[in-house]
Amino acid sequence: MKISIFCIFLVFFQPLQLFPGNADLKTIGDIRPFSVFFETDDELFREVLWSKIANSKPPERPKIGIALSGGGARGFAHAGVLEVLNYSGFPVDFVSGTSMGAVVGGLYSLGMSVEDIRKFSKKTASLRVSRDFRGIKFISLLISDKLLSPTYITQFIETNFGNAEFESLKKPFACVAMDLKTGEKIIFREGPVAAAVRASVNLPGIFAPVEYRHRYLVDGGVVDFIPVDAAKLLGAEWILSSVTEGEVRDIPDNVFMALLQVIDIRGAMLAKAAEKESDFIVKPNVKDIKVADFERCEEAGERGIMETARIINKAKESLIIYWFAKKSAEKL
């Protein structure tokens, strides 16, 4: 008994530093993330010429579009991409989005700050969006002979977009859906934003199509995973695409997951063609995050930041070189 009490005492009151020694407080080496001045001529040219782009408007610089792909929960990586672009002073004239790209792109075009958009990713669990996916039971689909209505996604979209119209957005925006009756790609550029975004994220075969102006609309990801065309239609001359494609890993263990996987595979196939049309591509490393993994949205956002931070200088250089090609050197 006495030994037990002694052991309990040790467990709860053990000193944290039994063998403290001396903490060697030398500085953390010379590896610093920032330098006082340009360290290379390339950095000098890039940053000085970039300042011209970042501080001017068309036609002094090209018109820049950002195309945000689909991807479900992975699509929250776009918020991280936008954050880094924002910090680097990347001018964004047009935004286009498919599926979750439409949600993030729409919020951004509405004028929401990237920090606030990222905050959504932190509370997606409490937003109950994932319940729309978890609540799906195939048997009930068969019995009721009706497709489901995604309650929480609709609530989220209507709460945040309200009665906003495309024409009133801070940045020109377009999003993509598919007409289930005709198979046509529908690019929304006018009218109520909430209806358009809701159509763009509407998973076919699971959620009931959105009826809008005699069309029956579902997720644009099945016809246009990366909406580069939509960005061009808006007027973009140079397009950066943020692509959050998945990777087939597991054998699906139910019909719903199988359907999601098919949509994912289709998206990856469409992405290949659209990437060729983009001027620059950012691919956050989110392949292991599944479409319905909404608990991992914050993680997706962080990976978007990390990948974009890694390649931002290349993105700037790509745009500067495009700018060079557009204007003669004497007119810079």
């Binding site: 030994i3 040790l10 020694g21 993330p33 920032f34 006082v36 010429l49 070189i321």
Partner: protein
């Protein structure tokens, strides 16, 4: 009996340190002598010898108190000998034995940081701050790790904490904080910090260069030029400052001043390709008799990668 069993189960989670406290009692005279010898060799910079002694000491299975000290010296010696993998192994083992030991946490965090494993280092810096939120090295380490990973707003948070801990007196840290703000395009923040530093040390050339960067990034080229000129007067190596000024004068359309800056550099090195490229952009090279492609090919010969890419595009 139940209490005893429960106690044993509780102990398992804290087995290592408690075990060592209970059973590593007393001192092993020989081990202590060896450790002392190792410490003396370490102090005089004899790392190879220190490692030899420590490894022999560890073979003797010394008491845990001495073992932890041994690991500390072993890890630091491996670091000094640039045997990073081995140092990592030692600190990882020591950290497993005593997860709340700040020495090992910090050493491991710094090694991961130095090796570019910023995600791993950040987790360890966070662990250190959980033990002591005012650990300056952990705050600085975390700020830098986050900056490298691209999380500028988090980096700003920990830089802010670091400068506060130093009473806003560490100039190097204040500059680093300002550069983090610069990366976030918080130009007002940068200027505020630099004005504070300017009062502390008006002869520090870095201050003028950081001012100039804030003005370049914000497109205020005239002010950028003023500060570049101030920085140039103090700086040792003036070349890149002059190159910046030349490029900015070109962007402002002032060919005369652009030429003046390029000539200052070409006087010291007539084959400076980056400067020749600026002269080309400003239109000076095109006035010569040579065809444009020939001029560009000459500059291309030793151009830096991005400049070369721009030249290739211009040639098309």
């Amino acid at each position: 009996m139940r209490i005893f069993v429960l106690t044993c189960l509780l102990l398992i989670g804290n087995f290592s340190c408690v075990f060592s406290f209970i059973f590593g009692s007393g001192s092993d005279a020989e081990s202590e002598t060896m450790l002392q010898k190792a410490q003396e060799n370490f102090a005089s910079g004899e790392c190879a010898k220190t490692v030899e002694i420590i490894l022999a000491l560890l073979d003797k299975k010394p008491p845990s108190a001495l073992k932890i000290q041994a690991y500390k010296y072993l890890g630091q010696c491996y670091e000094r000998l640039n045997l990073t993998d081995r140092a990592l192994g030692v600190y990882q083992l020591a950290n497993t034995l005593c997860p709340d030991n700040e020495v090992f946490l910090l050493s491991l965090a710094k090694l991961y940081y130095s090796a570019g494993f910023f995600e791993k280092s950040k987790d360890l810096f966070h662990a250190l701050l959980a033990l002591n939120p005012e650990n300056l090295e952990a705050n600085i380490g975390l700020a830098r790790a986050y900056a490298f990973l691209g999380f500028l707003s988090r980096a700003k948070e920990f830089y802010g904490a670091s400068v506060k801990l130093t009473g806003y007196k560490d100039k190097s840290l204040l500059k680093e904080y300002s550069l983090c703000l610069l990366k976030q395009r918080d130009f007002d923040g940068v200027i505020r910090q630099m004005k504070t530093l300017q009062i502390m040390d008006p002869d520090d050339g870095d201050i003028y260069l950081i001012f100039s960067r804030a003005y370049i990034d914000s497109g205020n080229y005239e002010k950028a030029l003023d500060y570049l000129t101030l920085g140039e007067s103090i700086a040792g190596d003036k070349r890149r400052i002059r190159l910046s000024k030349a490029l900015i004068w070109h962007l402002l359309g002032n060919r005369e001043k652009c030429l003046a800056e390029t000539n200052k550099i070409l006087k010291e090195n007539p084959a400076d390709n980056s400067v020749l490229f600026v002269k080309y952009l400003a239109g000076f090279e095109k006035r010569k008799a040579k065809p444009e492609a020939e001029v560009l090919n000459k500059i291309l010969e030793n151009a830096t990668p991005f400049v070369a890419e721009m030249i290739e595009r211009l040639k098309k």
